[in-house]
Amino acid sequence: MKIISRSILTIMIFTFLTLALLSCEGIYVPVSVSVETPQPLYAAAQSTLAYGQNQLNELSRQSTMVGLSIAQAENAAEQATLDYNQRQLMDLAIRGTEVSQNMAQAAANQQFIIEQTQIVWNATATAQSQAATDTYSRYLLNVTQTAQAQAILSFHASETAQAVTALTAIPLTATPLAETQAAILFQQRKYERQSFWGEIVTPLKILLTTLIIILLITGGVLAFRRLMPVLEFRLRNPRRYGNLRPLYLMEGKFVDLAAKPNRLTPRNTHREFIHQPPIDGQAQVEILGPDDPSIINWITEAEQKLRANGRTQP
């Protein structure tokens, strides 16, 4: 009997402890959720859980005390006390079960609140996104409508300008007087052009033609003068070496670069001036009169220098 009651008591304690742990495991405490939760309900559930935990602890302690009383009663073999304690254990078990049920209900409430909060948050975000989308759509619509309005205004402005132009031009040509004036003005301008052409352009053409002819004649004369030495050279120097050699224009003179070197060597002009004694041994002396133009200056200069030297006096 004693063993059976102790086993029952142990089983009940384990049951209570198991229920208490299960209820604690089911508790969900949102710490990092930033959404707003209904605080009063959540706080009520939290206090319910705390209260249930305290009650479980108290029941456990009372069960232990009852167990100790049972053991003492067994030792004292007091059957009445044992019965009383058994009934008290049954009552405590019932109350623990109720407390566990309350705690499970509070945890379920808390989870429900969290889920509802998440649903509300999602709904709010969706609503905000839809609102932003609607705003952007309205903005695009407004922009499109503005562009259309501007295009319409531009079109109206161009039409207005065309209308003004038409209204301005029509009176200028539509009336017979304006048409006559335009014809007169056209004739006047035509006469002016003809007059300008006859007074300036025609004499200018004649002058330019004359100038071109003069330039052509001058060019021909210059070319003839420039090429005349070549013709003369060719006439004086027939084809001695078979083919004609090219001539080069250097400093205004035609030069035959392919000629033999001895032809380009200048003569020694002093050789002929070196006094050579005549063959008969007599020097050649010219006799000229004092009035000869070639020696008048010589005589004058010589006599001036003779007087300057003081050797003779005229």
Partner: protein
């Protein structure tokens, strides 16, 4: 009087000048000899030179050259005429020179006759 009376003297000078120039190291670049007589009786022999500017013409016109020529030609007056060319003007004869000679020689004859 005709200028022909100076012709022999002119020929003599014409033959002598090239040798005289050669004696002092100058090449005789002579192109012609011209004899003339002015209305005042001066007989000039012009010795026309053709000296290249690159051969130092100043050597032909220096006083030393003229003095050497005058001395070699028995004291004939020689001047340089260098306008429009280079020439020696040799005075072969002049009435003033005759007077100068007369003024020089006649006193000597008088002295000789007087026995000095």
């Amino acid at each position: 009087m005709s200028v022909n009376r100076y012709f022999p003297a002119a020929r003599y000078v014409a033959q002598a000048i090239p040798g005289i120039l050669a004696q002092i190291g100058l090449k005789p670049f002579i192109s012609r000899f011209v004899l003339t007589e002015t209305q005042y009786g001066n007989a000039w022999l012009f010795v026309v030179l053709e000296v290249d500017p690159l051969i130092h013409p100043e050597d032909y016109t220096s006083c030393d050259t003229l003095d050497y020529l005058s001395t070699a030609l028995n004291g004939l007056s020689i001047v340089v005429s260098d306008s429009y060319g280079l020439r020696y003007a040799v005075l072969l004869g002049s009435p003033h020179e005759i007077l100068q000679v007369a003024e020089t020689i006649i006193p000597r004859w008088v002295d000789a006759l007087e026995g000095n």
